[in-house]
């Protein structure tokens, strides 16, 4: 559904991504793993149209070339992003944030249904409809951000570290719901530090290192891969528990 080839991003003289190719299909959960500064967020930003890309980049969505489209048009094409740092509208209420999620034309017809779905996923948001988003707790804000992205009824949902700041319980539930969402036919592209949890949920994964893709495999394979184990799973619990 989403196909990216030869994507390049540079900030001034600094090359953040080079020759990156990846794809996500319908109903699939795909995770991108990489150390900090590897370029994961830049990748999502570039696909979402927020970050300018280099010549040669090609982004195809549902068979249509969308390489040079502006961010707001990308949403219409079915690509939604939950950015790093959430990017919610702090001075608007929770309900308004969600309503804005369905601002895209493609989302309007099913806005009501999606709203119920989101409130079902995060009951806390339903309780706090009228609260200003910026006064919500860190985790609650994350729910607003994810909920808002879902509201645009995307074909591909991209999430940049969605479990950041969520309680263990909620993280688990989030990943469960991601699986549900994918099962409904959405494609999901995920950047996540919690490699273990995400690989358990995902179908496939990419490894990214200093701006280039260095590996790609199915999630179960990656979970077994010793290199991945040491670099991204780290087995922190084992290492840290004396």
């Amino acid at each position: 559904m989403l196909e990216v080839s030869n994507l390049g991003v540079r900030y001034g003289r600094h090359v953040a991504l080079e020759g990156v190719s990846a794809r996500v299909s319908k109903g699939e959960i795909c995770v991108i793993l990489g150390a900090n500064g590897a370029g994961k967020s830049s990748f999502l930003g570039a696909v979402a149209g927020l970050v300018g890309t280099e010549a040669g980049t090609r982004i195809v969505m549902n068979g249509k070339d969308v390489t040079k489209l502006d961010a707001h048009l990308m949403v219409e094409e079915g690509i939604a992003l939950v950015p790093e740092g959430r990017g919610i509208f702090g001075e608007l209420t929770v309900a308004e944030n969600l309503r804005l999620g369905s601002h895209a034309r493609r989302a309007k017809p099913d806005a009501g249904k999606m709203l119920d779905f989101v409130y079902g996923l995060f009951p806390r948001l339903a309780e706090r409809r009228r609260q200003l988003a910026q006064t919500m707790s860190g985790g609650e804000q994350q729910m607003v951000a994810i909920g808002r992205a879902l509201m645009s009824k995307p074909d591909i949902l991209m999430l940049d570290e969605p479990s950041l700041g969520l309680s263990p319980l909620l993280s688990k539930e989030l990943f469960k719901s991601l699986a549900t969402i994918a099962a409904e036919g959405f494609g999901i592209l995920l950047v996540e530090q919690n490699a273990r949890l995400s690989l358990k949920t995902a179908d496939r994964g990419y490894l990214i290192e200093t701006g280039r893709i260095v590996g790609e495999d199915t999630a179960p394979n990656l979970l077994k891969d010793p290199k991945v184990m040491s670099a991204y799973l780290g087995d922190a619990a084992a290492a840290a528990a004396h």
């Binding site: 707001h72 509208f89 001075e91 608007l92 601002h103 200003l132 808002r148 645009s152």
Partner: protein, 288 residues
């Protein structure tokens, strides 16, 4: 009662002066120092239409409003957009827009000076007594006040109860995030700026029915508008209206009961009180 109504009428006038800037500064983030010049320009155009072609100022609104909308759209697209694009943060945009609209201020003033000279202008329109509860008021002021109420209400409904309006507010809050929910930020900001300009121009038309104006008077209106906009909480229609009404009422109260020479001091006292008790503006939201 007389004082109350007079104050309300004045508040209505102030509402008119401030609403446009609320949109331009609150939403499009352009602190438009040329706001008052837009207003005065509309006064002149109204004058010219009325005295030259006999076009009733109220009908004139139908020309001036849309005309100002288009002109302000172009101003935004040509002059402000490049600044928005190159601004790395809101502070930079604020500085740039202050500088650029300061240039605009001179430009507009200069053009008006060429066209109309520096003298005072006014004309007579609806300068009839209109009696409310036994006291008589200028019909022109009453009309302006009603128009202010209508415009403010319409604007409120638009901003808070339509999707398009919510999008406008979203852009005000976070232009970057707005792009992520399929909002065309450029168009929306241009729209807000243009709408603000149109409202300011309509304000000018209405004000010209009872104010004497000249080319140099824009700054006075800009200052008044800025005070109201900020007192009400930047970008907040309800706040701006309330601030305008409160200002109108206190000024009238003080002028009637104390001394017209103290209106400004009263304004300030009020301003400080508001700040002490609601540091975020009357309706402004507390920062996180």
């Amino acid at each position: 009662m007389l004082i109350l109504l007079t104050g309300l009428l004045l508040g209505g006038t102030y509402t008119l002066i401030a609403l446009g800037l609320t949109l331009q500064y609150g939403v499009a983030r352009i602190m438009n120092l040329a706001n008052g010049e837009t207003l005065v320009a509309a006064c002149f155009v109204t004058f010219w239409l009325y005295t030259g072609y006999g076009i009733n100022p109220l009908l004139g609104l139908l020309v001036i409003g849309p005309g100002a909308f288009v002109i302000n759209w172009l101003i935004y697209a040509w002059l402000m957009q490049p600044l928005v694009k190159r601004a790395r943060n809101r502070g930079m945009l604020e500085v740039d827009s202050i500088l650029a609209t300061f240039g605009l201020l001179f430009l507009f003033q200069g053009l008006m000076l060429q066209a109309f000279g520096g003298s005072y202008f006014n004309y007579e329109f609806l300068a009839r007594p209109f009696s409310i509860m036994g006291d008589s008021f200028g019909l022109n002021r009453v009309v302006a006040c009603v128009a202010a109420a209508v415009i403010a209400a319409a604007l409120y409904v638009f901003l808070y109860h339509t999707d398009r309006g919510t999008a406008v507010r979203a852009v005000a809050v976070d232009p970057r995030a707005a792009r992520l929910v399929a909002i065309d930020v450029r168009r929306t900001a241009a729209f807000a700026f243009a709408l603000g300009g149109a409202i300011t121009a309509c304000a000018g038309t209405l004000l010209s029915t009872f104010y004497t104006f000249n080319t140099s008077m824009g700054v006075l209106f800009t200052m008044k508008a800025l005070i109201i906009v900020i007192m009400g909480g930047v970008g907040d229609i309800r706040g701006a209206v309330l601030a305008a009404l409160v200002l109108g009422l206190t000024e009238t109260l003080v002028a009637s009961l104390l001394d017209p020479g103290l209106t400004l001091a009263a304004n300030y006292a009020l301003f400080i009180l508001v700040l002490l008790f609601r540091p975020q503006g009357i309706f402004g939201k507390r920062p996180a």
